[in-house]
């Protein structure tokens, strides 16, 4: 049975796909993944998921992003005069969310560090 392996480098990062292992069950898959995917690279966490349980849609089945101009979907497209207040609020919200995420991450790192 094949298990896909996802590695997270630091707390707060996404788990990124890094390969797979053959194993009869989840426990063994984690045990093998540890050796193959976490020993040589900085790792905070590993996930394994049965290959069969992963859904996929690819370019044969779908047109990702479509074919027409979608720029009207982006708030920045509307930034042609003095910023519309909605644009400004949205931008500020994103900046604030990013700031909080960083603070949270720094805090986790500091806790993990001692």
């Amino acid at each position: 049975m094949i298990w896909e392996v996802f590695r997270q480098e630091d707390a707060g990062d996404y788990h990124e796909h890094c390969g797979n292992v053959h194993a009869p069950d989840r426990e063994m898959a984690l045990m093998f993944a540890e050796v193959q995917h976490a020993r040589r690279k900085p790792t905070n966490s590993l996930w394994v998921a049965p290959k069969d349980e992963i859904g996929e849609v690819d370019t044969e089945d779908a047109k990702f992003g479509g074919t027409t101009d979608k720029s009207y979907r982006w708030a920045s497209t509307y930034d042609f005069e003095a910023a519309a207040s909605e644009v400004e609020e949205s931008t500020n919200e994103q900046v604030e969310a990013e700031r909080r995420r960083k603070v949270q991450q720094d805090k986790q790192e500091a806790q993990g560090g001692d």
Partner: protein, 290 residues
């Protein structure tokens, strides 16, 4: 055990103290080195690529641990060549458990062996955490961390092999042939020196006590899996001298070994001799500098 006074550094030990430290270090270093030598025989031969890599990884860990212990013997002036590549096969002190050859494809042997060995490793490292010899004490933490994976690996495999009749029989066969050799893990190198190791507090539990700890851990576990641990019936045989157990003819610890060891030693020193080497190249920093 009473709190023992800390021993001085390597240069200031009395002869008796140094002999005790050396015996203990040879037990540790030789076990790790020879266990790793045998594990590496499974490279490209394990049941799957994954199990191959996992065992190779464990072998690498054990070699790393052997290196840490041999390095402490180098404190007394020995070189790596004298300790490993040029030492007489008759002088090694590892348990016969780790030198036994594998029958071709006998994966259950590798698993049972590592299970028995790593459980013993676990109890003996605990008995060194408070060692009176600072150089040993300081290196334990690093090693202990890596040992958790070894036990998890062995147990995961044991449990899965025990699920089916065929696997269980293979485990039983391996256990029958390995168990007496595993008992030699707790055999003395020399009774007087082992007593001194305990008296000086270099090790905080005696070999007999460690053997009990080990039996307390492995026997119920093996029996739960459906395995029969024949002559290790407890607790009647507690507190008896080693000779009460059915020990193999060769103990390893006392420098007597099975034939398989001499072939193995010949093999791993072959390249060194063939190239006419007199010293070993060092590619890594001394553990004290790293």
């Amino acid at each position: 055990m009473a709190v023992t006074e800390s021993l001085p550094g390597p240069a200031d030990l009395s002869d008796d103290q140094q002999e005790a430290v050396e015996h203990l270090l040879y037990r540790l270093a030789d076990d790790e080195f020879v266990a790793a030598e045998r594990y590496t025989e499974w490279q490209v031969r394990s049941p799957t690529l994954e199990s191959d890599l996992a065992l190779a990884n464990i072998a690498q860990d054990e070699l790393g641990h052997a290196r840490l212990w041999y390095d402490l013997l180098e404190d007394f002036g020995y070189t790596e060549s004298e300790l490993v590549w040029e030492r007489d096969a008759e002088a090694w002190r590892h348990s016969t458990l780790v030198e036994r050859p594998f029958d071709e494809g006998d994966w259950a042997d590798a698993i049972v062996r590592s299970y028995l060995y790593d459980q013993a490793e676990h109890v003996r490292l605990q008995a060194l955490e408070e060692s009176s010899y600072p150089r040993i004490r300081d290196r334990i933490a690093k090693i202990v961390q890596e040992e958790d994976y070894h036990r998890e690996h062995a147990e995961n495999w044991m449990e899965r092999l025990a699920e089916e009749k065929d696997g269980l029989e293979r485990l039983q066969d391996a256990l029958d042939s390995l168990f007496p050799h595993a008992l030699t893990l707790f055999a003395p190198t020399d009774e007087a020196v082992e007593d001194r190791i305990d008296d000086l507090g270099i090790r905080t539990r005696s070999l007999d006590a460690l053997r009990e700890d080990w039996l307390d851990a492995v026997v119920p576990y093996l029996e739960d899996l459906g395995l029969d641990v024949g002559d290790a019936e407890l607790p009647e045989q507690y507190d008896v001298h080693h000779s009460e157990f059915e020990l193999p003819e060769h103990l390893g610890r006392d420098q007597s070994h099975t034939d398989a060891w001499f072939d193995l030693q010949e093999e791993f020193t072959n390249t060194y001799r063939e190239l006419g080497r007199h010293k070993a190249n060092r590619i890594m920093k001394d553990p004290d500098e790293a």
